[in-house]
């Protein structure tokens, strides 16, 4: 292949996200190669964490659903209580303990916002995790994810401390809902949410939406701000036709878009580079973030600091740069309600 001396491929840019473009270039052909530096995933490196996970790995269980490896779980009480990631559970659930014993499990409680499930198995004398509030550890602290082996399954550092997730971040990438194909002004007007841009060929464009239209209601539900718009759309499905009430100038118009599927955008593409992501990975009201590259099947179990204390439960591999955990201080007050069935599994 020949090329001109000055045509070194420029990394092409520009792709629409719903609101803004987020830029990072994809590297041109740099070949894969064996690293000369032992990276964070090498067994030599993980071996340094053996002492850290020796205790907490005895409080970690491997959970299989219908004979398929599903997630990890954390022993939270000696008499057979296991906490794990709810949305990965299905069919017949079996917990394999650190010592190799296996027990069938049933779901007793679920916290939907945090995607946590409490399982019960019929056994006594388990070693429960030792909790520590995640706020005790600063950004930059090592975190390890214990598994069933002497080494952790993976390690990383605390990237962002526990924080409340609000607004559009709480609802972003809700890929299951229908897609209208607009970008909006984030500040609400007194009537509803104003359209900044109608994406060409999207559902909104085909249904006759225009820039500056104000969305007042979807399926008779009032839209007051970006949040309520996202929530209303999250309840829909691609292919569904919905009634949208729109204020155009002083007029009220009713439009009936047939919703589309959210397109895979540049951000999705990049986030999927290099690791597999959890299906359910957004919408948790409070999370801490770390940079461990964790497989979705290795979520659901304890996340420990260098003292082997559990500062959270890994809840999702959420992007190329992020793994999320529900902080210990959020989980501890939920435990009783999850055990008692006050937070009951959905029927």
């Amino acid at each position: 292949m020949t090329r001109s001396s000055t045509s070194r491929a420029p990394w092409t840019v520009s792709f629409w996200l719903v609101a803004i473009i987020v830029l990072l270039e994809a590297a041109s052909a740099v070949p894969a190669q064996r690293e000369r530096v032992p990276t964070k995933t090498s067994s030599r490196f993980l071996a340094a964490f053996r002492d850290v996970v020796a205790g907490p790995s005895r409080s970690t269980v491997r959970i299989r659903c219908d004979d398929q490896v599903a997630v990890f779980g954390a022993v939270v009480a000696a008499d057979g209580w296991i906490l794990t990631k709810a949305s990965e559970l299905k069919g017949e659930i079996v917990c394999e303990l650190h010592d190799g014993r296996e027990f069938p499990a049933r779901i007793v409680g679920v916290s939907e916002p945090y995607d946590l499930a409490m399982l019960k198995i019929n056994v006594n004398g388990l070693k429960p995790v030792e909790w520590r509030d995640s706020t005790a550890d600063a950004v930059g602290s090592w975190v390890a994810t214990p598994g069933m082996n002497p080494e952790p399954v993976a390690v990383g550092v605390l990237s962002v401390r526990a924080r409340k997730i609000t607004g559009t971040e709480l609802t972003r990438r809700s890929s299951s809902g229908g897609f209208l194909g607009i970008s909006i002004h984030s500040a609400p007007t007194k009537d509803g949410v104003k359209i900044a841009e109608v994406l060409p060929d999207g559902a909104a464009s085909k249904a006759g939406f225009e820039e500056d239209d104000v969305i007042v209601a979807i399926e008779k539900k009032n839209i007051t701000d970006a949040d309520s718009l996202f929530k209303a759309l999250q309840k829909t499905r691609p292919g569904q036709t919905v009634t949208v009430r729109v204020k155009r100038g002083s007029e009220i118009v009713e439009l009936t878009p047939t919703l589309g599927k959210r397109p895979t955008d540049r951000a999705d593409f990049q986030n999927h580079l290099g690791s597999k992501l959890s299906d359910h990975r957004t919408g948790f009201p409070m999370v801490l973030q770390h940079d461990t590259v964790l497989r979705p099947v290795d979520c659901g179990g304890p996340l420990v600091d260098l003292d082997g204390k559990v500062i959270g439960i890994n809840i999702a591999r959420a992007g190329r740069t992020e793994t999320l955990a529900i902080p210990a201080e959020v989980i501890k007050p939920l435990l009783d309600d999850l055990k008692s069935g006050k937070l009951a599994p959905p029927k």
């Binding site: 292949m1 020949t2 090329r3 001109s4 001396s5 000055t6 045509s7 070194r8 420029p10 990394w11 840019v13 803004i20 473009i21 987020v22 830029l23 990072l24 270039e25 994809a26 590297a27 041109s28 052909a29 740099v30 894969a32 690293e35 000369r36 530096v37 032992p38 990276t39 964070k40 090498s42 030599r44 490196f45 340094a48 002492d51 850290v52 600063a138 950004v139 930059g140 602290s141 090592w142 990383g156 550092v157 990237s159 962002v160 401390r161 924080r163 409340k164 609000t166 951000a267 990049q270 580079l273 290099g274 973030q289 940079d291 590259v293 260098l306 992007g319 190329r320 740069t321 992020e322």
Partner: protein
């Protein structure tokens, strides 16, 4: 790029101390190739926590129109290093967002399109938190590094996101640094730090693997500070320097000309197909990437001596760099 990577490995000086000044206070664990114990891990952790807390206030998010990226302030009067594909054209309005959410006004400055370095100046009056630029020359492969930035753009309430990794590769001619600090869209322009809290690179691009995170070495910002600060754009394809030769990309270990454009600077200089370029200016040329890089460092109008091998003869020619035809 493939050719040059093969050569990129030589510098594996074992456990060299990075900054002699700090040698006494620097725990040995920081320079081990692999931590061997929890004790070593703790030493690294303490340093990483300290560095993060120190540098965080200078890590910024950038908004230019609809585009979002990251950057880092390196002078108290508001010079911000970023990626060239973030700053883009000079003299555009930009917002520089501090970690506490304060939005400052700024203007884009210069850019090296080839290496992807860029610069922005905060135009609001004031003094800003800043970090020091480090020295890429003191780096070694295997050194710990910290990546900070705003993956997917600024999010209120989220501090710049830390990732810890290693320098996996220092490109031989200083064109890029490769690490396993995972990056994603929005990180572009954000800083890579060493364990002394100095900027050693700026996030530029990624490949598929988690070990393919590419940063612009900070040395190029030092070397071309004036050009960037003046708002110069260079190294690009359209407006950039051009000589008009086609090269064989599959050939390893030499830079052989396959074709010469009619009326091009190369033709005027007397270059012919099958010539092998040995030197361009004062620099040796070992593969086509070398030549591309050296051309990109010149301005149209520059006269550059070029040494070639034609058959068994060595010839010295002079070439006047042209401008890439649009």
């Amino acid at each position: 790029m493939r050719n040059s990577l093969r050569f990129a490995l030589a510098l594996f000086v074992s456990l060299a101390v990075l900054t002699p000044l700090r040698a006494e206070s620097r725990p040995p664990a920081l320079d081990k190739l692999v931590p061997e114990s929890v004790h070593d891990l703790r030493a690294i952790q303490e340093r990483v926590k300290k560095v993060t807390a120190k540098v965080l206030p200078a890590v910024v998010a950038i908004r230019i129109g609809h585009a979002a990226g990251s950057g880092v302030i390196v002078r108290k009067d508001g010079y911000v290093l970023t990626a060239g594909h973030i700053s883009g054209e000079p003299d555009r309005d930009a917002f520089v967002i501090l970690p506490d959410g304060r939005r400052l006004h700024g203007k884009t400055l210069g850019r090296n399109v080839g290496l992807d370095s860029g610069m922005i100046r905060i135009t609001d009056p004031g003094e800003w938190p800043f970090v020091e630029m480090g020295d890429t020359a003191g780096l070694r492969e295997g050194a710990w590094c910290l990546a900070l930035g705003h993956p997917e753009g600024f999010r209120p309430g989220r501090t710049p996101v830390l990732r810890l990794g290693r320098v996996l590769e220092l490109e031989r001619r200083g064109r890029y640094i490769r690490t396993d600090c995972a990056l994603v869209g929005g990180d572009s322009g954000g800083p890579l730090f060493d364990l002394d809290g100095k900027v050693i690179g700026i996030h530029s691009r990624i490949g598929e693997l988690m070990t393919m995170n590419i940063h612009v070495p900070v040395s190029t910002y030092r070397d071309t500070w004036d050009r960037l600060a003046k708002g110069e754009v260079w190294g690009g394809r359209k407006r950039g320097p051009y000589i008009g030769v086609h090269l064989n990309e599959d050939e390893v270990g030499e830079c052989r000309i396959v074709e010469v454009d009619k009326g091009s600077p190369a033709e005027k200089a007397g270059l012919k197909p099958d010539d092998v370029v040995l030197r361009f200016g004062k620099e040796r040329v070992e593969d086509i990437e070398d030549l591309l890089m050296l051309i990109s460092e010149h301005k149209p109008g520059d006269e550059v001596p070029i040494r070639i091998r034609r058959g068994k003869k060595i010839l010295e020619l002079k070439i006047v760099i042209g401008r890439h035809p649009a």
